[in-house]
Symmetry: C2
Subunit: 121 residues, 2 copies
Amino acid sequence: MVQKKINIKKKFKDFFEHWSPKIIAEMNDYQFKLARVKGDFIWHSHDDTDEVFIVIEGTMKIEFRDGSIELKEGEMYVVPKGTEHRPHANEECKIMLVEPRGVVNTGELTTELTAENDVWL
Amino acid sequence: MVQKKINIKKKFKDFFEHWSPKIIAEMNDYQFKLARVKGDFIWHSHDDTDEVFIVIEGTMKIEFRDGSIELKEGEMYVVPKGTEHRPHANEECKIMLVEPRGVVNTGELTTELTAENDVWL
């Protein structure tokens, strides 16, 4: 049976919280998640997996211990596993994350920014 | 060390063949590939994996044995593993594919459309 296609930008109309990734698709045991980000996130790492960031709208920054990058619409970045990073956005930015099922947004830490996991849009 | 970010649309300036996916990034054992597609591809399936299509520019169609979908810029679709499908585009369309390392574009078949695998941009 033919599945529904997913319009990435339209899916952002269904949620408005910051730093709270929502799943829009699964491929094998990997998930595509959307998030709105604004302000500072925390330093964290994912010890077991790389993590892909793709900017859908806006601009964000990812800080590393040895530098930082700025990502604009249409740009992507793979944060290697075990790499400490801190996402940041001056203005609200809409992103898509790709990572294995079960990855928690704050990595190895649990803080007030730890989002409920496995929430579908 | 901070890696280079990837500008998805700009990467398309580096190749012009049709139906010949080029790798732009790896996340664990998964690959992000870009392809220009135009005309009819062949019916095929990938017996061991789902396959993600994301349209970066243009419009394409994916036919299935029981229907079809049209994908426009910013839309994505997950073809479930084992599902026979035939991509098609009237006009050239630029897409991003996400799938495990080692997936061949013509799936279980080898034809003149079978592209060299594991080619990085």
